[in-house]
Symmetry: C2
DNA sequence: ATATTACATGACTGAATAGTCATAATAAAC
DNA sequence: GTTTATTATGACTATTCAGTCATGTAATAT
């Protein structure tokens, strides 16, 4: 997945939308990829305001002049990073959906969690970037219009919930939207806990996730 | 509560710790309170980096020169705001604990939620400030050492869980810490949803909270 | 080989803004 | 009423940093 993370078509579309320049598009795949990964890594570590363009240029081994030939501004780099990540997430989720064989909602959620979190490289820059943007979105200095980073993820979760309600596995007295929100809350919360509090073993986290989600905390 | 929010002793302690100056301590309660409320309101709206000291001074009707006679630096104002809010939260939680009459964990959580969220002024600056700092803590430009803003809240939640486990109301196969974390995750998540997504009626939110927390999503 | 086009570079500029300081106003002391 | 200590003020400074530009280098075309 990491190889063609920067999909040609997606990049071309971003040129169209003036998020990046055509000069950037024409760069070698290697250089494009390096800039992207440096960006998400540094944004995750220092935050948007905490990261200076000079710092990024140094780490990505490009000059400042070049940077502004690739991106109209610093905020465009941020938007670029978010949109590429969004694309990556969408494709990941699509692939997971394609490969899933489970029928029960329990197993589908477990598979989703494993495929997305456990089986991907743990504590990767992608994850840290995801946590950063979801956490800071509503209080950020820059606002990227019309982006809901977990849209595809939520669609999938909502599908699981919907079918679960249909087969009688999941309670029907909650709105599908709200139930989906609660499911995503637990998944994201457990993921975030791995970073901020004492780490748990993934097996244990999985167990908590499914058991709590379905049975609650009642004895 | 809002009147003597800036407790004399707490303020004196902050002078000791060099977070604020003695000049600030000697200010009228009115002025101190105005600066505090302006700070949490603007930090919540613009974020730490997005707020200029000049902007704060204008809103709080003080001069920039005065500001730096009250606080050693901008980050000290931030620390001050966080510590005063922490104090406020601690006292609120203590009062709630003192006044609670419920015995069942279900009812205790419901009461905590109502007292802390529903009965306080909705969508207040305090709430928005709380959401801002909890969200941005791990990715912030400034780091306030050794502060865990929901410490008191978590202690209370953990107490509820512990007693619930003891009386057999709450499952014992999860660590109290983890269960407490899941409880707080749902409470904070529902609170945050009120700000970012479509608002729900509080009655409905309460219902979701308790029902989901205890029974899970199983039909 | 030469001209032309595309890309690379880092010193420079301008704007924003945290923090200072000389001076003014006010309060306290005597 | 005069002196002294304390607080208020906003113009000023120093720094950081996004974004520019003149110049250099490599690639391509003719």
């Amino acid at each position: 997945m990491k190889q063609n993370l920067l999909d040609e078509n997606t990049v071309a579309e971003l040129v169209e939308r003036k998020v990046i320049t055509d000069t950037f598009r024409k760069l070698s795949a290697d250089k494009k990829s390096r800039i992207y990964h440096t960006a998400i890594s540094l944004f995750a570590e220092y935050g948007y305001d905490g990261l200076a363009v000079d710092q990024l240029c140094e780490k990505a081994s490009i000059s400042k002049g070049s940077f502004f030939q690739y991106f109209p501004s610093k905020s465009h780099l941020f938007e670029f990073a978010i949109l590429i990540f969004d694309d990556y997430l969408q494709k990941s989720v699509l692939e997971i959906r394609k490969n899933e064989t489970a029928v029960l909602a329990r197993d589908r959620i477990l598979y989703l969690y494993q495929a997305l979190v456990v089986n991907s490289k743990l504590f990767s820059d992608e994850e840290r970037f995801f946590l950063y943007i979801t956490a800071s979105m509503s209080h950020s200095t820059v606002v990227i219009e019309g982006i809901d980073i977990s849209r595809h993820f939520m669609e999938y979760v909502n599908d699981i919930v919907e079918r679960g309600v249909h087969t009688g596995e999941i309670r029907a007295d909650f709105d599908v939207e709200v139930t989906g929100y609660l499911v995503s809350l637990i998944i994201e919360g457990l993921l975030r806990r791995q970073y901020t509090k004492d780490r748990m073993h993934w097996r244990q986290t999985e167990e908590y996730l499914i058991s709590f989600l379905f049975d609650g905390i009642t004895a």
